[in-house]
Symmetry: C2
Subunit: 175 residues, 2 copies
DNA sequence: GTGGACATGTAATCTGTTACATGATTCA
DNA sequence: TGAATCATGTAACAGATTACATGTCCAC
């Protein structure tokens, strides 16, 4: 799975500009994928050159022009090939977890500060996910619902475990 | 955070070879970081050239010789610089979640098959983590414990949500 | 005699990010 | 007047993976 697959997938529901795609990725998607403009624009150019999507320039008033892309039949085939191809394993890379793993080499108060930040972060993300679920529920597919439910319960479990962990760390601190 | 930081961290507890490092990364670490030999060996060479670690060749009988690396004072400083530097946000990339998000374009039975595979996978990983926790608990630091607890509760929550999701999907299938 | 564990290393390639470059409009 | 949003694009670089290359010993 790469940016190409994701972009094709997003275009399956209708035309979009590079800018639109970026924002879509930042909202619902951000939990399990992301891409920068430096990836999105070159990928769109490449897909267009190869005939998987087609470009239309839209002249706007009071705003810069934009390029809106539509998926072609060839593009739909390519997306289906991705969906039926081999599944890649999840990738998770966490700086915070790494620091926790090496926690014995870091001052306790610094560690606790970091974990409290993480906790706040998890709360924020949970709130955003819950809000999104409320707003978009009517238009979500069954599997999209599972997707967001996984995200929500993941954050809830993180919050529980972190809270307990921080408490225990603080106790060992007092001794 | 990159391979260099992780390798230095692993060497903080004692000397290791590239092969050792690979195996360590695959066991406890695999939940939040990973690296291939193609990354590990060049990184070790580079760190040695720069004086952050030192190499000793160990001649073994019945096995190929190996290069064992020890962290230097300079290396310890570099690792501390990492631990006190800016924290990078978590990165999560999931092909399965992406396919779930685009689930409306995939046959239901294929989707259910994929999710059942994921469920089995989650069970396996949970078992491995639980086993590891049992075995290594006595020698784990408090923050390492939090680390593995996060991993365990994460998998538990995934199993719950996936199980429910699959059941619901199957029901909509019957209608 | 074949596959797996041990052990190291390089070259080609992929995939992506960051920073730079440009420029209009709107809102405070 | 300065920041934010809209909008696109490129070049330099980073960081990693995969496949290749090599070779021993042990167990089945």
């Amino acid at each position: 799975m790469n940016s190409q697959d994701v972009i094709l997938g997003l275009l399956m529901r209708g035309e979009m500009s590079g800018y639109d795609i970026k924002h879509r990725l930042e909202s619902i998607f951000s939990f399990f994928y992301n891409a920068s403009f430096g990836t999105i624009y070159p990928t769109l150019s490449k897909l267009e050159k190869e005939g998987y999507i087609s470009k239309m320039s839209v002249i706007q008033e009071g705003r810069p022009n934009k390029n809106v892309y539509t998926i072609t039949e060839e593009g739909k085939k390519l997306f289906q090939a991705y969906l039926h191809g081999p599944i890649e394993r999840n990738e998770f890379k966490s700086d915070v977890m790494t620091r926790m793993f090496f926690g014995e080499f870091l001052e306790k108060d610094v560690m606790i500060g970091m974990l409290e930040n993480q906790l706040q972060d998890a709360h924020d993300k949970l709130n955003r996910l819950t809000e999104m679920y409320k707003v978009y529920k009517p238009e979500m597919s069954p599997t999209q619902e599972i997707c967001i439910q996984i995200g929500i319960s993941d954050k809830e479990s993180l919050i529980r475990t972190l809270t307990q962990g921080i408490e225990r760390l603080k106790k060992t601190n007092e001794k």
